[in-house]
Amino acid sequence: MELTNSILLAVILINFFTLGSARLGACVRIVAVQGALLALLPIMVHGVTLHSTLLAAGAFCFKGVIIPWMLLRAIQRVRIRREMEPIVGFVPTLILGTLTTAGTFLFADFLPLISAHHEGLYVPTALATIFSGFLLLITRRKAITLVLGYLILENGIFIFGVLLSEALPLMVETGVLLDLLVGVFVMGIVMDQISREFSTLNTERLSALKE
Amino acid sequence: MTLLGGGLLLIMLAGVPGLFCRSDEHGGERFAALLTLVGAVCIGAAIVSATRGSGELSHTFAWSVPGASLAFYLDPLAICFLLPLLIIVATGAIYGLRYWPHREHPANGRKLRLFYGLISGAMILLLLARNGVLFLMAWEVMAISGYFLITTEDHQAEVRRAGFIYLIATHTGTLALFALFVLLGPSTGSLDFPAAGTLAATGSSLIFLLGLFGFGMKAGLMPLHIWLPGAHAAAPSHASALLSGVMIKTGIYGLVRLTSLFAEIPAWWGWTVLLLGAVSGIMGVALALAQHDIKRLLAYHSVENIGIIALGLGIALLGRSYDQPALIVLGLSGCLLHVVNHGLFKALLFLSAGSVIHAVGSRQIDHYGGLLKLQPWTGAMFLGGAVAICGLPPLNGFVSEWLIYLGSFQALKQPGSALAAAVLAAPVLALIGGLALACFVKVFGIAFLGEPRTTAAAQAHEAPVAMLAPMVTLLVACTWIGLLPTTLHTLLQKAVGTWAGTVVAGVATGSVAPLRWISLSAWLLLLLVVVLFAVVRWRSRTAPRELGTWGCGYRFPAVRMQYTASSFADFLIRLFAFGLNSEEHGRQVAGLFPLRQTFSSHTPDAVLDRILVPAFRAGSWLCRRLRAWFHNGSIARYLLYVIVTVIVLLTLFTP
């Protein structure tokens, strides 16, 4: 229990870091660490069973290794290092992130959950992570940060999923992961196209494509 | 009662004899100051004799005005507001002798003295009044005299504008108070104030909101502070000291008195006051930091300190809603003590700022510099005031802020309840304290230290004794409260008792907040600093003093290269850019060898200049358009209006 709480706390701290940091490489790496940490959760919650091991291994491969590796390669290829001029500044997003996190902690107490879930940090962490992902998606311009936002969003959903993984067949989990992977592929292609077309990665330029 | 009434009349009418003197000689002014002093001493004596006795004084006379009676009542709560009032009125009257002598200001000297007396008397009356009509009368006399004090120099357009805004604001507030007393009336039967803790809270939300608006407008709580900066900057310094030190506190008095009438307090009242306090505190000090005009800056600090007072009141209100005696005692003692303290140190700061303005002839901080050498006493007084207003230990500001801090920490003892959110008052206070420190170190450092920035500042002279003595008195009062806070302990205890009734009977301030220790540490700190300072001073008595400051390798440093007030505050202001919206011109330097560059920055008021003025302008534009459309001179259309009106009236009023 103590260890899972520490992991979940680390997850939240990583959310804060990604919200407050401008360096893309560091963000990708730290989100990879987040994914790897989350991969430990199924085993710690449900013990070593086939289901949980598969889930953990899959999560580790996708979240911790493959997607971050692809993102790092993308960063190298388009040669950008920093998120410049986000739509909302770093400090305001960080403040918003903390406020929403604090809010989820207060909110989670009012949710009609079974008592086992009331105790731990699972539900608030999951909600906070989802919100952090949304915040990242809303406030940033660079396509890579947007992908990171999706990744963090999925991490949040994953924490919820861990709580339910007994009831949830493996197929659903895999489906979510696959969706994400496809999403990353698409984004990769889009990123490549944007950078080739406009020599920048700002998604705002895409609006020039209308009609 | 004779003493009280006599003193009241003396203070109120102190300026009248002057009306019969020649306007260009000093005949009336000394007499007015003497009358004010005697009046203050009389009232002081009345207060002392009242506290020796039962602690309360009550007289009611019949009055022919319907619903009204001349009900006077002196209780510890009023005494808390009266004490600083008397000190400030008396010191201000003496200060005015040299600051605004008739001989130099024949046009407005008599007017200033008349209204100075009137406003002081009206405020004393207001604090004693226990009847709605009497209260409103005193309130209105105070408001109108305040207007004439602000517009003392009515030949300046800026002063007239400030006065006009003040007049609008204060009457909007008074309107709310009229409604408030009308609503209070039916529940009690007469317009006399009901006894403390007797009104039911149900259905009184409107009363509270009206009170919050009306009294908050006078107190200058953040969104309602629009009149305050301009008014305090425009008035003569000793009048500003009175306005800022005492008049805005009548708003707080109204809120405290109003909330004391209710038997129980809904929790949202406390939260609202707390929130408004936090907003006023932080935004007030941030706006103050961005000012270049020393009196505007001090005025914004009044907004900040009203915020701190409101934080204390909010904590006390929450204590009543959640039945926490410790919160009530600490919050309200902090609130009341800060009322006293702010009156004292803000008056001290306004008076010493006045002495600087008198000597240099400018209100811009960036025109000063190096004044501590030329005005050693004024500088020391300002430093004392600055240390006190930042809430730093050996002086009085610390004691009251400390009580409010402890009040908010008490909320931690209630885990799981919503009350725990009140602990956020503590970090808010810390932020306010840090920003206030930055602001006052800026003012003191730029104005009094370094080299003179203008020739006027280089030729400044020390203020005469008649101006210094009031400042010294105020500083002594500040130091007194800082070093011996225990002397005010009984008064605060009784005042909290009158406000909250028997709930707090078991909790003594001393048990939850050991004031003795604070007093002891303040003494120790002062003693050690004085001793070590004397040692260093003695050891350095023969040191060479003719060298220039090291210019980091640059050979020809000039006075214009010194850090200015705007450059000092720039870093912090940019952090608060989201709420301040400073306007800047010319930050960038273009080219390799730029010849002449100017930089100017200006921070307009966040509410008045950013919201209200544009909103009213849009409103008047809309009305003008509507009028042009309705009222366009075509007879046929007017006839149509008549027909439509008749039809509407017929359909509405035929059964």
Partner: protein, 304 residues
């Protein structure tokens, strides 16, 4: 009471400059040098105290007040805090606020004495100093709130009492860890260490704290340096107590444990100074706001 007062003052006054020596030594070792002897700060202080005074003609008595208050404040503040297992000699309900505000007083006079010289470099340092400490102040208060939530009373002695041992193992461990990090950042900021400030740089434009003392020389500079050392020790003492909340009951072992903890903090500071670059100036407020937010989060965790 008197015994513990003497012990406190002796520990503080004797050992304070040593930690600076350890930091400098650690940095030298990381740089592959032998470095100055451990006791170098003591020699420096003795040398400075013997020198004479030199004043700029711009300065006034405020110039002296900065070092005086800066030296006395940490001395008084140290009486309010426990040194490891040794209880504070002076302790009363609400002394935590006094502790915070004493340092604010020192800051006021340090900054005023910097502005007294009229030099724009010192003005620059002064402006930065007030800005950063403004932002650090809420963090300290949030940390104190977390500790006050776990303790029974509102004195620093109770806040840093031996209940912290159980609190670490109980549910509050995460919060305590967070505020430990936050307070460490505050320690680095307030004591002008890398990555926030570089006391050894030769460029006045980039300094924060040191640039304010540019015109102070001789005994005044000595008082500033000594005061800074005392302040560092006082703040590290809180960290040590927070991180190692055990006490043996015998004052000698307690003092030993405490000093060992302080060696640890100094080494940590030295390692950070050797391995990190200093932050760009606009980043510092962001980091400080970040730590405030972390401490808010810690408070939410314990209030839940």
């Amino acid at each position: 009471m008197l015994g513990s007062l003497v012990l406190h003052l002796v520990l503080l006054l004797v050992f304070a400059p040593l930690w600076l020596g350890i930091i400098i030594k650690a940095k030298a070792l990381f740089g592959g040098r032998v470095g100055a002897p451990l006791l170098q700060p003591y020699y420096d202080l003795a040398r400075l105290w013997r020198k004479g005074f030199v004043f700029s003609r711009t300065t006034t008595w405020v110039f002296l007040a900065g070092p005086v208050v800066g030296l006395l404040v940490p001395l008084l503040a140290s009486l309010l805090i426990p040194f490891g297992g040794i209880d504070a000699p002076v302790s009363f309900e609400g002394d935590l606020i006094l502790f915070v505000y004493l340092f604010a007083l020192a800051r006021f006079f340090t900054v005023a004495s910097a502005l007294d010289t009229g030099s724009s470099f010192e003005g620059m340092g002064a402006a930065r100093e007030v800005t950063f400490s403004c932002l650090a102040e809420p963090t300290v208060l949030f940390a104190l709130l977390v500790l006050a939530r776990l303790a029974d009373g509102l004195s620093l002695n109770q806040l840093f009492g031996d209940h912290l041992g159980q609190a670490w193992q109980g549910g509050a461990g995460a919060s305590l860890g967070l505020i430990l990090v936050c307070l460490f950042v505050v320690l680095l900021v307030e004591n002008s260490r890398i990555p926030f400030d570089d006391p050894t740089t030769h460029l006045e434009l980039t300094m924060v704290h040191e640039v304010m003392a540019l015109d102070h020389s001789g005994p005044l500079l000595g008082m500033i340096l000594y005061g800074a050392a005392l302040k560092m020790m006082v703040m590290s003492a809180l960290l040590v107590r927070l991180a190692v909340p055990w006490q043996t009951g015998w004052w000698l072992t307690d003092a030993g444990l405490f000093l060992a903890g302080l060696v640890g903090v100094s080494l940590l500071v030295g390692i950070i100074e050797s391995t990190m670059a200093r932050l760009r100036m606009p980043r510092i407020p962001q980091v400080l706001i970040g730590t405030s937010l972390l401490s808010i989060f810690a408070l939410v965790l314990v209030l839940r």
